[in-house]
Symmetry: C2
Subunit: 301 residues, 2 copies
């Protein structure tokens, strides 16, 4: 089964203590799609400008991403420039040019409205709602969001949260959205807003999943060389959704397995700059690291 992602496509300029990358392929939809494509066919709905090079489209297509829903608008592609601190958990945004993303009106091509697994990437909650209204009978809709929308568009965001099944969100944003510092309380408060499950991304500390039926806590894959954390969260979400779409089973066991696959896939992303590692990532490599992760975390019950 296919996965649909609606979100940003970007040029990213990234600086970390380990180097830099200029105007590389970026955006939540790009990272999500490349990670999900390791597991299942992927459809992107997004927008790029006239400056978006053919090579990026070719790379996405080659990875198994359907680009029928990718709009090309007059103007420039969304641009983000950020710099990470020595502590890679902290970053400064140096420049943002919204460009064609400012007027993005997500339209699903014919046939896309039947997609069963849908991810609403971080974007204006009104745009997320618009996608929701175009869907027929999705099996699982998950969404992400960020501090900007939590602060500036809380009412519209709440409407989205009432309509999605799963929220995938950073720990700092979970705290902001819920008003609770404690992660369990934060997750419980977000559940009350509508979704049936909350997935809280904790960066190098892993993931916390919370629903009425189940709590799951899992560390991140420990890495010796983190070159660039950009896109880790979207890669996590992509692999998570891709794994669910491929497996079909959404029971607790399938969910946990998909979360661990998300974790493991994100660990590849951060080992190189931008989405470079994802472009060549094979399912076999992910499976191998999954098995290694089992070894790293198992203990006797």
């Amino acid at each position: 089964m296919s996965v649909l992602v609606v979100g940003s496509m970007a040029f990213d300029s990234i600086e970390t203590p380990h180097g830099r990358a200029d105007r590389v392929l970026g955006g939540s939809a790009a990272y999500f799609a490349l990670a999900a494509a390791v597991f299942a066919p992927v459809r992107i709905v997004g927008v790029v400008g006239e400056d978006f090079p053919e090579e990026h489209l070719t790379a996405l297509s080659r990875s198994g991403v359907d680009l029928e829903g990718l709009q090309r608008a007059a103007g420039k592609t969304f641009f983000w420039h950020g710099r990470y601190h020595e502590d890679l958990n902290v970053r400064d945004t140096l420049e943002v040019q919204l460009n064609v993303l400012g007027d993005f009106d997500p339209r699903l091509p014919a046939g896309y409205e039947d997609t069963e697994y849908v991810f609403l990437g971080n974007m204006h909650p009104a745009a997320q709602s618009e996608v929701l209204s175009q869907l027929k009978q999705p099996r699982l809709v998950a969404c992400d969001t960020m501090d900007h929308w939590i602060n500036e568009n809380p009412g519209e965001l709440r409407k989205v949260l009432e309509r999605v099944e799963t929220v995938v969100i950073n720990d700092s944003e979970a705290r902001m959205l819920s008003g609770h510092d404690n992660i369990v309380r934060a997750a419980r408060a977000i559940l009350k807003m509508g979704p049936r499950a909350v997935l809280i991304k904790r960066g190098e500390y892993g993931v916390f999943q919370f629903s009425d039926d189940s709590t799951f806590v899992v560390p991140a894959y420990p890495l010796e060389d983190v070159l660039d954390p950009t896109g880790a969260g979207d890669s996590f979400a992509g692999a998570f959704m891709g794994c669910l779409a491929a497996g079909g089973a959404n029971g607790d066991e399938g969910l946990r397995r998909a979360i661990v696959y998300g974790n493991v896939t994100a660990s590849f992303t951060v080992e190189d700059f931008g989405p470079r590692r994802l472009l060549t990532l094979e399912r076999g490599e992910v499976d191998e690291r999954y098995r290694r992760f089992v070894e790293l975390t198992r203990f006797h019950d």
Copy 2:
């Protein structure tokens, strides 16, 4: 088999966003001993002043802690006063009175030198070395340390590290000691200083264990009500060592089991102020939460 802990005994005055406790029983040796005593007989070597109340001694004895090595010196007991921020990972030390701890000269009572499981709590590295010289054939010696000794007595600390089997240390102190931000690199660098294993405590994010043979990463038990984080690290170490002493098996499986027991025991400590919860903690409660932890972390391999 018994566990020996050498470390500080204190009065703590603690302020958190959830309340305060004045001049309660504290110190690394007290927390360690109460946690270890859930699993095995414990011996304390430490020092208190003339102001140390009989009730604390009775409480420790009743929990199964042998106090033969507890010195009572002329003067006042070590005193610490701290305040936690809304984010409980951050605290300010408001006052420290070293008092009798300043002249602490750890002497092992006859018979103690045969103890097989020994923990050198956070104290002057010269005092830690002195304990090491009094031991006969310990099976496992672990030590803790803190920023103060890392910065002020690096040479003496290095000598201790050359002689212990395991280091149990906070993540921030592991970074300081090693000069590496990355946790895997930090652990690898500390191994090079002598110990065969490093246990890095990550607070609410769990524990990372690293040795030449094995890497183990485990999240913390997720809690909804953290009242006071004081003593969590020492409770972890106490339960870890107590579990090893009780189990006898130091193989990889036994080590991981002891780490998880340490994690789970520390989760009780932080649910009340000071060591209050530890004073009534029963092995059955810890076992129950261990089983719950298995449920919270298991996934299909």
